[in-house]
């Protein structure tokens, strides 16, 4: 189904796919810098998503078993962060990031069937958890030892299908599932909590039969520990990761739209300088 061309991984779960994360904290910083560079070429884009999920993606790549565990990105707008990370760990050629979202690029700005890395990426929101539950079910039917990690955005929890899938997964005891909710309180029309009350998230997941953990989504050791702990859960696990679409980039103006950040050349240069300095500091 995927036809990404030469030189990069089709899916992280494909046998033979290899990568290593030596320093997850550095990877998170690198995701931010590369995402800014990818968005700067357009002057606007899904930077807020990368800023909010950088630690989640870094932790995921550090914990997932190459060539086995599955990756589902339910909100296709988040592919920017995974592409940035994949280039950083050598899964896709670096030069492709420069074409991200451009005409003819295999790295489309919103995930599609052509997108590398994922077992499933959704463009129409709210569908990823169903796909993940299907993968987990297939793995159980086949006796395949693999976990399925699903990134979901908090805004997606407004879609009923997420809760259909949550009920299904718990009923069928799909314990190989781990959901990471990027709770950045951001959707197109503004803060999620001004549009629909989706709280209390943790108790919703719990009442649907899941094992929820609420944590600071920018606390990399905490996210990593929660991902590792989820392996032992007797129920499918949901990590409610509290994040911000501005985290780790101080130069953004206070009114930046988290869903679709404008990045004119001056601001882009300031952001690149800031994030480059942070990256170099992290390498010390």
């Amino acid at each position: 189904v995927n036809s990404p061309g030469d030189g990069f991984a089709v899916r992280l779960s494909d046998p033979g796919t290899h990568w290593q994360v030596a320093d997850p904290d550095r990877l998170a910083r690198a995701i931010r810098l590369r995402a800014v560079q990818m968005v700067a070429a357009h002057g606007y884009g899904y930077l807020g998503q990368a800023l909010s999920c950088a630690e989640l993606v870094a932790a995921l790549l550090a914990v997932a078993r190459p060539g086995a565990d599955r990756l589902v990105c339910s909100p296709g707008h988040y592919v920017i962060a995974f592409y940035a990370a994949a280039a950083e760990v050598g899964l896709i050629p670096e030069h492709l990031l420069g074409d991200y979202g451009q005409d003819g690029s295999p790295l489309e700005a919103i995930g599609t069937e052509r997108s590398p890395l994922f077992d499933y990426v959704g463009g129409s929101l709210g569908q990823g958890l169903s796909a993940a539950a299907g993968f987990a079910l297939s793995d159980r039917l086949r006796g395949r030892d693999a976990r399925t990690f699903v990134l979901i955005s908090d805004g997606e929890l407004e879609e009923g299908q997420v809760w259909e899938a949550a009920m299904f997964a718990a009923h069928h005891r799909l314990t190989s599932l781990t959901v990471l909710v990027d709770a950045n309180n951001s959707q197109v029309d503004g803060p999620v909590d001004t549009i629909t009350t989706i709280e209390p998230m943790a108790s919703k997941w719990e009442s649907f039969g899941w094992a929820p953990t609420e944590l600071d989504g920018h606390d990399l050791p905490a996210v990593t520990a929660a991902l590792v702990a989820a392996r032992q859960a007797s129920r499918p696990a949901a990590l409610i990761c509290r994040t911000s679409t501005r985290h780790g980039l101080d130069c953004l103006p206070p009114d930046a739209d988290g869903h679709f950040i404008k990045l004119p050349p001056g601001l882009a240069a300031a952001a690149i300088a800031e994030l480059t300095a942070r990256l170099e500091r992290a390498s010390d």
């Binding site: 077992d119 169903s130 796909a131 299907g134 993968f135 299908q161």
Partner: protein, 342 residues
């Protein structure tokens, strides 16, 4: 009615059988370990209680959650399983349309979506009457759309579709299913079957409208009119060559479908006629830009909404500009367990 080789059909009243599709799926599953069965809380109604009893480990009840059911099926297909998904046609197509398009059709996955209770065969009112399912599925890229006519075809449908590379929507009637074709009939996905020959009317019929179309052809034949009845079980991809050939050999063209006349068989035939330059007038039989209603019986609805044998006779009569009132179609008496069209 017919003498064309391999396409013999019975005379009404037709015998009926129960669960021909469900038996066909169990027979397929015996040979194919990759076949999985999903149900949306309509297991007995969709005949897959037979599968559930035979292969409980390969049966997945997704409950009343069609969007998730399609998403689950899509992921299973991506992993190499062949999922057959079952619910009523209304719920199979209207509720999860976005999931079918994005999670199934766009990646061209072999999910088999089986929608029961087509058109106004349900007396349950507009919420339960799939009058637009063929139209919705026909516009989905890569989707094969099948509307079988009888129990012989229903029983063979699973075998016929299991190895198609992309998604399939299969439309099936519920309950006592008439046996119209003889036992030698083979459901072919690449051709429409010409069942009778005549040069006055080309009558293309799908699904439950085949029986009234055959009955109407017999009435018209008694009045000296020749009708080519063509059974069209596969609405997409349509056998355009047969449609164009039969239509160009007749004075008028009729389509008969248990569905809105927009978007389904009638539209598909119209597209072929226009693209091939066949100049015959076209009359489409089916629901005309309307919802139907709840009622006590299917027979009442088929009569009221123009899907009866008489409706087909009247349409042919008017299309041919025949003098006088159209002949009465009459009613074939049925015994217990038998079926004849309204």
């Amino acid at each position: 009615v017919t003498d064309l080789a391999h396409q013999a059909v019975r005379q009404p009243p037709y015998p009926t059988v129960l669960k021909p599709y469900g038996q066909g799926l169990v027979e397929l599953a015996a040979r194919r370990a990759d076949v999985l069965c999903l149900s949306g809380d309509l297991t007995r109604q969709c005949e897959v209680d037979l599968f559930q009893q035979s292969y409980p480990d390969r049966f997945i009840n997704a409950g009343m959650a069609e969007a998730n059911m399609i998403g689950i099926a899509a992921a299973l297909a991506r992993c190499g399983h062949v999922p057959f998904v079952h619910t009523f046609g209304v719920f199979a197509t209207r509720r999860p349309l976005d999931q079918i398009i994005n999670a199934v059709a766009y990646p061209a996955l072999p999910v088999r979506i089986v929608g029961f209770m087509p058109g106004i065969s349900s007396p349950g009112g507009p919420s339960h009457q799939a009058i637009d399912d063929v139209a919705l599925m026909r516009c989905v890229p890569g989707m094969t759309v099948i509307d079988v006519a009888d129990a012989v075809q229903a029983r063979q449908a699973c075998d016929a579709i299991v190895d198609l590379p992309g998604p399939v929507y299969l439309r099936l009637r519920r309950g006592e299913t008439p046996v119209i074709f003889d036992q030698h009939h083979r459901l072919a996905l690449d051709r429409a079957d010409v069942l009778t020959s005549g040069a006055d009317v080309a009558l293309f019929a799908a699904g439950m409208m085949l029986a009234p179309s055959l009955a109407a052809a017999a009435v018209l034949a008694r009045h000296g009119l020749g009708v080519s009845v063509v059974s069209v079980p596969v609405i997409k991809p349509l056998d355009a060559a047969t449609v164009a050939r039969v239509a160009s050999g007749c004075r008028v063209v009729l389509t008969a479908e248990n569905h809105l006349i927009t978007g389904g068989l009638g539209s598909a035939v119209a597209e072929v006629l226009a693209e091939c330059g066949v100049a015959s007038p076209l009359h489409r039989i089916g629901l005309r830009d309307t919802f139907a209603e709840g009622a006590g019986t299917m027979r009442y609805l088929f009569g009221k909404y123009g899907q009866s044998t008489q409706s087909v006779v009247d349409a042919a009569w008017q299309a041919l500009a025949m003098a006088g009132a159209p002949p009465a179609s009459g009613v074939v008496a049925v015994g217990p367990g038998e079926y004849s069209p309204v």
